[in-house]
């Protein structure tokens, strides 16, 4: 039997959530959900774990802080200390108050860009990548559940479709792949 992918199209995020709940409680694995805006509360239903991008951002930020302090120490204290306006660059700890603004800005720079780049790579969204949403309406006003038969061996595609018809679904599309 060929593998099938089933798309259940809903008109409202709440109806989609009810549909997803019903599928999951019948032991069917929901592959993914596509929507024009974030559907709040869908993640625990279909078993999506919290993203770790916040941690990534923190790590990049800390790296930025260290790089900034190391760089400033090397440029202004170690390599070529200057005395400008009677304010000599003597030691890192003595000049640190004046070094805080750049350290802060560089921390933010690294945290923001590090996280943004990680985000784009993890989402597989980069310039020129092809669109991979199953239906063009999913970026407009439709909310779509994707179920794959090869992930649900206990259920036939007919059973899944039957179950979906019991929810407030707008239309059900099947595709071979």
């Amino acid at each position: 039997m060929a593998n099938k992918v089933i798309y259940a199209v809903y008109e409202d995020p709440e109806l989609l959530k009810d549909g997803a709940r019903k599928l999951v409680s019948s032991g069917i694995k929901v592959k993914d959900v596509f929507s024009p805006f974030p559907v709040h509360g869908i993640d625990p239903i279909i078993g999506i774990t919290r993203t770790r991008l916040g941690i990534v951002s923190f790590m990049f930020g800390i790296t930025g802080t260290c790089l900034a302090i190391l760089g400033i120490w090397y440029f202004n204290i170690f390599d070529w200390p200057m005395n400008i306006g009677g304010k000599p660059s003597q030691a890192l700890y003595k000049n640190l108050p004046a070094f805080i603004p750049v350290t802060f800005e560089f921390t933010v720079l690294c945290a923001a860009h590090g996280m943004a780049i990680t985000y784009l790579i993890r989402n597989k969204t980069l310039p020129g990548m092809p669109a991979r949403n199953p239906d063009p309406r999913s970026t407009d006003d439709k909310f779509i559940i994707e179920v794959r038969t090869n992930e649900n061996h206990g259920h036939s595609s007919e059973q899944i479709t039957e179950l979906l018809r019991g929810t407030s679904v707008l239309e059900i599309n099947e595709r071979q792949y």
Binding site: P38, I84, P101, A112, Y119, P127, M129
Partner: protein, 461 residues
């Protein structure tokens, strides 16, 4: 589902569906631009071209063509720089600070306010660039080994802090803006029919799918970027103010400067957002999304920040007397009664007195009056920077060098030119970019939409 109190004014008027929101925003991009757009674009483009010409003339001749002299060695260049950076602050405040406070009314205006931020910061960055004189040496502001000709840059200097603050602010704002744009570009990509447009928006949308995990990440990234953009925006204008505050010029050497500059920045930025949005909502028929309530909220921000600015002016005046420093007190007496009295009192009228009119509800919900006031506030804030910079410099410790500043046609041309470039960029944005954050506005439709609220009300009784 989260529901909202019936007493709250709806943020989306009329009976809209998700599809209507997409149509209302994407249709102007797909259709031919209205004639008004070409007219405005023509005017802005001409001014931009003239300004670019002035900038090129300035670069080829050197900054001697400005009206600067030995005493007033900083004038319109830095006034314009601070003014433009200040205008930029409102966009970040709306998209970051109001996101942290979960203010839903930000959703209809954040996209265009952020665009304004980016264009304003580009204009601001032009001024330090061109006032270096030798712009081809501009890369010397970055830490470069001594062999490049310059010494290592001085990290003790507020001018260098500015380099890092402005470049970080610009690039982070740009990324924040673009990450929000990606899902909306995907909406346009899936909606338009012309192949060339589909291709272009396909590239811009980075292949966005809108699956559940992508949205989880999207929300996390938005929240974290808002969290770090908030201290960033406060740091940027604080650092700009330290360009002055860390010097020992009477009138500049005050510790009140960072909060005073930041609130002034938000004040002028909101005025510019209003100037732009009041025109845009009319021309692009966005009255159902950018409602009178949105305008009223922004006017309330203007009262608050305008009052902070007023308190700062008066504190500054009081301290100049109370400190007992005669040079300091002279600087302020000279501001109010010296040859630049007209600049000082324009600033006081526009920034301190006029925003107080917004306490009257009739006035702050009147669109024509708001538009007029938004221009007044921006004029006032330009004068604030002019007053701080020029009146503090023109009478220094040596009365024999006292002088006045007279702008030349290049000073004026460059300033007007940046306005032209700014409006050109903004018009291009309004034509080709989704001017509302579609994905955010859709997410509040069933909570804050007028027809849905009425529906909920009926069920309730």
């Amino acid at each position: 589902m989260h529901s909202e109190a019936a007493i709250r004014t709806p943020l989306i008027l009329g009976h809209k569906t998700y599809h209507d929101i997409t149509n209302d925003i994407v249709a102007p991009i797909e259709n031919k631009a209205p004639r008004g757009w070409y007219v405005l674009m023509g005017i802005a483009g001409l001014i931009a071209a003239y300004g670019t010409g002035c900038i090129l003339y300035l670069i080829s001749k050197g900054i001697g063509v400005w009206g600067l002299n030995k005493t007033v060695d900083w004038a319109w260049d830095i006034t314009n720089f601070v003014w433009w950076v200040g205008i930029g602050h409102a966009g970040t405040l709306i998209s970051a600070v109001l996101l942290l406070f979960r203010q839903k009314w930000r959703m209809a205006i954040n996209r265009s306010a952020e665009a304004m931020t980016i264009f304003a910061v580009i204009m601001a960055a032009t001024f330090p660039g061109i006032h270096m004189g030798r712009i081809w040496m501009a890369y010397w502001v970055f830490p470069l080994p001594n062999q490049f000709g310059s010494l290592w840059v001085n990290f003790n200097s507020p001018l260098l802090w500015d380099v890092f603050a402005i470049s970080t602010y610009f690039s982070v704002s740009l990324v924040f803006w673009y990450i929000g744009l990606i899902p909306d570009f995907a909406t346009i990509r899936d909606k338009v029919t012309r192949p060339a447009m589909k291709k272009v928006y396909g590239i811009l949308s980075f292949g966005w799918t809108g699956n559940a995990k992508a949205w989880t990440r999207f929300e996390e990234v938005s929240l974290v970027l808002a969290g770090i953009a908030t201290p960033l925006v406060f740091s940027v204008h604080s650092v700009v103010s330290m360009d002055f505050a860390t010097s020992i010029i009477p009138g500049w050497h005050t510790t009140i400067f960072p909060p005073y500059f930041v609130s002034g920045a938000v004040f002028s930025g909101f005025a510019m957002v209003l100037t732009l949005l009041l025109v845009m909502r009319k021309v692009m028929h966005l009255e159902n999304y950018i409602t009178v309530k949105h305008v009223e909220y922004m006017n309330i921000v203007i009262i608050v920040t305008g009052s902070i600015v007023g308190v700062a002016y008066i504190t500054e005046l009081f301290i100049s007397w109370y400190s007992g420093v005669e040079y300091e007190s002279y600087a302020f007496i000279n501001r109010a009664t010296g040859p630049y009295w007209w600049a000082y009192w324009s600033m006081m009228t526009c920034n301190v007195i006029s925003p107080q009119l917004f306490w009257i509800k009739k006035l702050r919900t009147n669109l024509a009056f708001t538009f007029f006031m938004s221009i007044i506030v921006n004029i006032g804030m330009w004068f604030e920077r002019f007053v701080i910079i020029v009146t503090s410099l023109h009478r220094d410790y040596l009365p024999s060098s006292w002088t006045m500043f007279h702008p030349t046609w290049v000073d004026v041309g460059v300033f007007i030119g940046t306005l032209g470039i700014f409006f050109t960029l903004y018009l291009l944005f309004a034509r080709y970019f989704p001017v509302l954050a579609l994905n955010e506005v859709k997410s509040i439709l069933k909570v804050s939409g007028e027809s849905y609220k009425q529906e909920a009300q009926k069920h309730h009784h």
